[in-house]
Subunit: 245 residues, 2 copies
Amino acid sequence: MSGWVAIVGLGPGRESLVTPEVRSVLADATDVIGYIPYVKRITPRDGLTLHASDNRVEIDRATHALTLAQSGARVVVVSSGDPGVFAMASAVFEAYEAQPRFADVPITVHPGITAMLAASAALGAPLGHDFCCINLSDNLKPWSVIENRLRMAARGDFAMAFYNPRSKSRPVQFGHALAILREECAPGTLISFARNVSHDDQRLVTVPLSEATEDMADMRTLVIVGNSATRRVGPYLYTPRSAEA
Amino acid sequence: MSGWVAIVGLGPGRESLVTPEVRSVLADATDVIGYIPYVKRITPRDGLTLHASDNRVEIDRATHALTLAQSGARVVVVSSGDPGVFAMASAVFEAYEAQPRFADVPITVHPGITAMLAASAALGAPLGHDFCCINLSDNLKPWSVIENRLRMAARGDFAMAFYNPRSKSRPVQFGHALAILREECAPGTLISFARNVSHDDQRLVTVPLSEATEDMADMRTLVIVGNSATRRVGPYLYTPRSAEA
């Protein structure tokens, strides 16, 4: 058996953010598997089969990748951003763990630029000091876990990056998150909404927490909450490297 | 004035992890400024002046970059990893804020693969769920802030990535951090030491927290602490996407 699974990150969207390593792995592949919009980013070529699937079938997709690799295919599972941050890498390892028949399939992970780093760069440097990265979706964890994490992150005076803040099927959770932040953080804490990061229609909005509303976020928004020292300077937003006791 | 400052991330070391965007910015530069080992990674060419400086002179380096740009130079400030994660971006904005004469210098930030994402990929997917990113150096913040953040991160059951865990001038802090983690986390919590991530001599070691010792980390080590669900499967380490209340 010479097949393998490589889980790669395509970055947040701009093609110049795809690493040469990921390009090289894609050039070696016989099969590409992923969510429809990510597979659309792959240029078709002879000898490469593209398998696009809908959202929320991550374990099916992972099992498909492992099955193809076991029969000799060189399979690339594509994620946007980084594959290890709220993306396909954990799903592939879950499928691998659940099905011992895949024990001999080699798996590699190839990092990518995750949305929070692209958003932070576009804004300035709001994640330049200690920070937390939280998936606000309660599809795979109870809201109580998210609430506790928001409170602990705030009490640690961490900056925060939120993935999946809000979607059509989860319209109210982000409002709850804002309410928790208003209990835990000063009203002047800066919060940024970075929509379609690194795409041509990228949109950046920064407001004090007191002025943030839930409709500022949607599925395509990465949210960054500053720590107590995060501030604006000219057109930029940044967090200083130092902190006071 | 047509000068500018671009702050770029060279990734953790492997050249195939440098983004095409960063290569393109470097191709446009007249000057490159940075810490000696990072400037060494830049290929010299006619028309490009390399300015390498020692560690811990970040504000001098940032001021130098802004000064050159103000007189028309196209200056790239190089960081390893991502420039916005414990690297030069915040230092440049600090210098920009402190010296109003630089108000008109355009500054851009170009993301890179930060060490924790490369380490996570090399290990499997230990950062596949909510996590915190903490700089353990107390050069720019009091130890009490770090201690509180470690406790809050543990009480939120976040996975954690530690930058700068230990150096010759700070030999004891990592031992203190381990003692705090032992108070807050189960002894079986998995902790990984990723040394020289993405370099040819990369070394990965994962042990239960109960077996971790301070000499497992040095200046070139990125430390990842799993959450309560992080586990091994075959040769991989990963954190499932779901969490229990």
